[in-house]
């Protein structure tokens, strides 16, 4: 179908429906435009939260003396790390890949013209924006910016004078966005696959989104109810969590992590699906162990429900449940390992074309493996006690979340950018940005492993003088990393306006999105394709 690009067609960015300009965007039901709406919002939120992270590291350049604080007060620091966490987790990492790339590419990869419920899809975006706006309003109303950390732990979140109620209500509203998107994707995958596309002929990115969708539907209501209970406890004093009123603060932690641990897999499963797309393209090979990768996504989603207690090893839960949760935590490493081995096996003896998106995958595998292996240190009961609530934990989840999902968000953007916008980017600049990003990342976060092991607690606005050398190195790392990110983003913005025209299939991909013109036509396919072979099979 490559000949389509020679003939004249209207692509989705040229299409003018009932409304023009901004209303045309705000009222669109085109899954591709909705994906771009998410992309714009998310990059904005990401840059805001990144700036907050930059300020936190800047504060850590020097320990505060008794004469006064350096850059910010303790209370400001509390608000800054809370906001950094809330924005990154709830507005970027959790919805990131499904909302942007899932929306844009899932229907195309399945051979469909849109998702099952296009209007609900747009509604999801409005819930997302509404949630974000509510959080924003909470900063300037009531008792001011929330200072509880992104986990909103009781009893502090019940007693602080900061505006907790409105901020957690924002997170509650965001949950609707997540659930509606998941319902849309699951229905689309069940009903709108092209003729001949059996379950095990679906691209693996779709498998990742399918497993993610189920977690979103089954786990999000738990956090929704829990956050409402926090609001009720604050306003009416119902006494479910507050020990002073006969409540159980550990119940809050259970309920919070019953959602928030599976949420870790909401973040990473679509990212892993993306890896399974990019590797076959640049190794020019069929993926090794297709069904093992597909089923391991479901296995991760299932076992991921059963490990939440490892966030509570030092909170006072029973010894029996600590042993059970520790064991289950090790079990979840198995399906993750299955994926990594299959990816590596795909690369074995392949004629690898190390283009920019593939280099992102290399960065991902290194960073995610460090994050995963240090996760085992945290999952083991004895070592967990030593490093709980230190920089070690902070470093671990930045390696897993940022090194994992964050790297692949940019990797996905670089992989699909020519398809989304029909423009090519400068690969040399991209590779320079990526090298700076990975170098800065390791300087920033690896030093945090060392400091954490030595006992530097997380969430403190100052520190003992003995940590200063490592803190300074870490802060310099943040500057290197941020410059890498700015180069990566700037390169794409430049390409958007000045880039050369992209061909339909610049990387030699085999999935359906590469069979249609760049940028895609309004309804994706002139004729719905008939699928006769696996997604990564070559002639």
């Amino acid at each position: 179908m490559n000949s389509q690009s020679d003939t004249k067609y209207i692509h989705y960015l040229q299409y003018r429906g009932k409304f023009k300009g901004i209303p045309g965007w705000l009222l669109t039901t085109d899954h591709k435009k909705i994906g771009l709406l998410y992309l714009i919002a998310m990059i904005t939120f990401f840059l805001v939260a990144m700036s907050l992270g930059f300020l936190m590291k800047l504060e850590m350049l020097k320990p505060s003396s008794t004469k006064g604080s350096t850059l910010m007060s303790a209370q400001t620091y509390n608000a800054v790390f809370t906001l950094h966490g809330v924005i990154m987790i709830f507005l970027f990492i959790i919805p990131g890949i499904p909302a942007v790339f899932g929306n844009f590419f899932l229907p195309i990869m399945l051979g469909a013209r849109d998702v099952s419920f296009p209007k609900i899809n747009l509604l999801s975006w409005y819930f997302y924006i509404a949630g974000a706006v509510i959080v924003l309003i909470s900063l300037h109303t009531g008792g001011g910016p929330i200072d509880t950390g992104w986990t909103f732990y009781v009893p502090y979140s019940i007693r602080t004078t900061a505006n907790v109620s409105l901020a957690v209500f924002g997170a509650f509203v965001l949950g609707f966005s997540s659930i509606l998107t998941a319902i849309n994707f699951i229905t689309t995958i069940h009903h709108l696959r092209a003729p001949g596309m059996k379950w095990f002929k679906m691209p693996l990115f779709a498998w990742g989104l399918y497993a993610t969708g189920w977690i979103q539907i089954l786990a999000t209501p738990v956090i929704g109810i829990t956050l409402l209970l926090v609001i009720l406890e604050r306003t009416l004093g119902v006494g479910i969590f507050d020990p002073a009123l006969g409540g159980d603060p550990l119940l809050y932690q259970h309920l919070f992590w019953i959602y928030s641990h599976p949420a870790v897999y909401i973040m990473i499963l679509p990212a892993m699906g993306l890896v399974s797309e990019i590797i076959p393209t640049f190794t020019k090979k069929n993926i090794f162990g297709y069904s093992a990768i597909a089923v391991s996504s479901l296995a991760i989603a299932f076992v991921g429900y059963l490990v939440w207690g490892h966030h509570m090893f030092t909170s006072g839960i029973s010894d029996t449940s600590r042993a059970i949760f520790s064991f289950l935590t090790f079990v979840v490493a198995i399906p993750s390992g299955v994926k990594v081995f299959n990816w590596v096996a795909t690369m074995y003896k392949a004629s690898i074309d190390p283009r920019t998106p593939f280099l992102f995958i290399m960065a991902f595998i290194v960073l995610f493996s460090i994050g995963g292996l240090t996760g085992l240190v945290l999952g083991a009961l004895d070592t967990n006690i030593h490093v709980t609530d230190t920089y070690f934990v902070v470093a671990h989840f930045h390696y897993v979340m940022f090194g994992g999902m964050g790297t692949l968000f940019f990797g996905g953007l670089y992989y699909w950018f020519p398809k989304m916008f029909g423009k090519l980017f400068n690969e040399k600049i991209a590779n320079t940005g990526l090298i700076l990003f990975v170098t800065g990342f390791n300087v920033l976060y690896f030093t945090m492993f060392i400091m954490g092991y030595q006992g530097m607690p997380r969430r403190y606005y100052t520190y003992l003088a003995e940590f200063q050398t490592l803190q300074v190195i870490s802060t310099i790392g943040s500057w290197i990393m941020i410059s890498g990110i700015l180069i990566l983003l700037g390169n794409l913005v430049y390409a958007l306006f000045r880039g050369r025209k992209a061909p339909d299939n610049p990387w030699g991909g085999t999935t359906l999105e590469w069979t249609i013109p760049s940028p895609p036509p309004v309804y994706n396919f002139e004729k719905i394709p008939v699928i006769t072979k696996g997604p990564y099979e070559r002639n």
């Binding site: 009903h191 092209a194 189920w214 738990v222 429900y305 059963l306 029996t320």
Partner: protein, 124 residues
């Protein structure tokens, strides 16, 4: 709930290459595709059953059953919710895939409860 026994209007992709039209949608709502479901009388019976079970719950609340109180109340609640799901929410008449969805959700829910109680029961 769409009629899953007659899904011609949804499986367009397997029949031809055109997406469903408005006419297809209206056809799907017409009588020939009507749900195979319980009759009016059955609904009344289920409703009466639910009312009776509620009455039993209220009555039992006044009797001291010691350890059995919670178990009895939960057993009645399970019967009531399965009646509502099967008849009023049509799960009994829907395709097996919906039953699988519900079974998976229930299994995960039960596991959440069991794991939480491993903490509560064994806590000092």
């Amino acid at each position: 709930m769409p009629d899953t026994k007659n899904t011609e209007h949804l499986n367009y992709s397997e029949k031809n290459f055109d997406p469903p039209t408005e006419e297809d949608f209206l056809n799907s709502l017409s009588d020939k595709n009507a749900h195979q479901e319980a009759g009016f009388g059955t609904y009344i019976l289920i409703w009466l059953g639910l009312i009776s079970l509620t009455a039993i719950t209220v009555a039992l609340a006044g009797i001291n059953l010691a350890g059995l109180t919670v178990i009895t109340a939960l057993a009645i609640a399970i019967i009531k919710s399965s009646l509502v799901a099967n008849y009023f929410m049509h799960i009994k008449f829907d395709a097996p895939i919906f039953k699988i969805f519900i079974a998976v959700s229930l299994i995960i829910f039960v596991l959440m409860i069991v794991l939480t109680f491993f903490d509560l029961i064994f806590r000092n």
